[in-house]
């Protein structure tokens, strides 16, 4: 969308024009939903979270002064909404006493042992499976890492945009991203399921191409 058009729509929406808001929000629904889905893992939660984010944007649009890009402002609201939900879910889970997780803080120690007996190597390699494994691994990352991976490696935002969205320095974006990627790689290299088969699948897939 052209900047002037966007500015005009923002003004109209700020004055209470829901049609202008509809045009404005339409182009952001997909990226918002993508961030929510990749951060929260569950489609249902992502669906609800996207709605909440859009309502927040509508309600708070009058405070948006145009100091940053609208997209940056929207993605900041989105990541904050997801982080809030993750924290709430985490508290809820802790109360329910997790049987599968030894320790939430330690990335290396947690283990979801379900189905570790199953041999997956012979399965037909599908993109879908790889995506699910990857999504699972992202979900296990600590919040800071998860956020930068979703913003940079999935949604492809620039370092500058991420720095602004998260309100951190460029140097922090760089180092956090580097550690997040390394951490993700460690998850994927685990010898337990579901990760056990990630690189196997990858190499099978490459072989078939």
């Amino acid at each position: 969308m052209h900047e002037d058009t966007e500015r005009q729509l923002i003004n109209q929406a700020q004055a209470g024009d829901t049609n202008a808001f509809e045009t404005l929000i339409s182009s952001y629904e997909k990226p918002i939903y993508t961030i929510c889905l990749r951060m929260l893992l569950s489609e249902e939660e992502a669906y609800d979270a996207t709605q909440e984010v859009c309502i927040k944007i509508w309600k708070q649009l009058h405070v948006f002064k145009g100091d940053s890009k609208l997209s940056t402002w929207i993605y900041r609201i989105t990541t904050n909404q997801c982080l809030d939900l993750l924290r709430k879910n985490k508290n809820k889970k802790q109360k329910e006493t997790s049987l599968f997780q030894k320790n939430d803080e330690s990335e290396e120690e947690w283990m979801l042992d379900k189905g570790s007996e199953k041999e997956c190597v012979e399965k037909i390699v599908e993109d879908k499976e790889l995506k699910e494994i990857l999504q699972q691994a992202i979900f296990q990352l600590k919040e800071d890492y998860k956020t930068v991976i979703v913003l940079r490696d999935i949604n492809q935002y620039s370092y500058d945009e991420i720095a602004e969205i998260l309100n951190i320095s460029l140097g922090t974006v760089k180092s956090r991203l580097s550690r997040a990627r390394a951490s993700l790689r460690i998850f994927l290299e685990q010898t337990k399921e579901p990760y056990k088969s990630f690189f196997v699948k990858m190499s099978n897939k490459e072989g078939t191409q």
Partner: protein, 258 residues
């Protein structure tokens, strides 16, 4: 360059975020180190896969659901907006009433004689007041709480208090029924409206513009504390101003612009 140093830089290397010198160093190391080269390949593979996670199918009902909720929100917002001047009026009237009640509580000598004259036949008036107070209570919860606190703190005076309120209610309604009225004549009608609008905003006075805010012919200002300030302000800003003050009592002020 050591292998661990190189590995730390790989992430930024892939994204082209290294300085030319750093990039050169990493490049040189990679040429001679198979394990770091392997590491780079693995990282690139993972990133490629991550990129694919961008393809998300947005549920078709999402947009519709969002807009439905926005419209509900928008309606709610409008309702609040329209109620605002009225709410302000009710809340400020309740506050004035409370203050008056408290003042008369402490010096109700004259009121008591009045009360005796009236006798006990004022039942309908009292029940009407009770109704009105319920309306006020729902909008001015805080003021009402204070009043309730006062009432319970003075249980022995309850009867007197209730009767006092009858007289007070009457005087309060007389106050708000009489509206001061100014007729302003000037060639700069828009200027006058603008000055009054600024005054109302600054003094936090509830204002009603008729027939609408864009084409004002008369303005009602509620609970104006300093009318002299307003007339001074108008005289200062408008050159060909003439104010004719028709009614000179009342807290509320009606201004007719001619």
């Amino acid at each position: 360059m050591k292998c661990h140093e190189c590995m730390e830089q790989l992430s930024s290397y892939i994204d082209n975020r290294l300085t030319p010198e750093e990039e050169k160093e990493v490049g040189m190391h990679l040429e001679t180190c198979p394990s770091c080269t392997e590491e780079l390949a693995v990282l690139e593979t993972v990133l490629q896969q991550l990129n694919k996670l961008q393809d998300v199918e947005v549920p078709q009902t999402l947009h519709k659901d969002i807009m439905e909720r926005i419209k509900i929100e928008s309606q709610a917002k409008k309702n609040i907006f329209y109620l605002k001047p009225w709410m302000k009026y009710v809340v400020s009237s309740a506050a004035v009433l409370l203050i008056v009640v408290m003042v008369f509580q402490n010096s109700n000598l004259t009121m008591k004689t009045e009360k005796l004259d009236r006798g006990s036949g004022d039942y309908t008036m009292q029940s009407k007041i009770a109704d009105e107070e319920m309306i006020l209570a729902s909008d001015a919860g805080m003021a009402d709480n204070q009043k309730a606190g006062k009432e319970s703190a003075l249980p022995t005076e309850n009867r007197t208090f209730a009767l006092d309120k009858v007289a007070l209610q009457e005087s309060a309604s007389t106050l708000s029924a009489v509206m001061e009225e100014w007729e302003i004549t000037s060639g700069q009608k828009d200027e006058i409206a603008a000055v009054i609008k600024t005054y109302a905003a600054e003094q936090n006075v509830a204002a009603e513009y008729m027939p609408d805010e864009e084409h004002v012919t008369s303005i009602v200002l509620y609970q104006v504390t300093d009318k002299t300030a307003l007339s001074n302000l108008l005289e200062e800003r408008i050159e060909d101003l003439s104010i004719y003050k028709k009614e000179q009592t009342g807290e509320d002020l009606k201004i007719i612009i001619k």
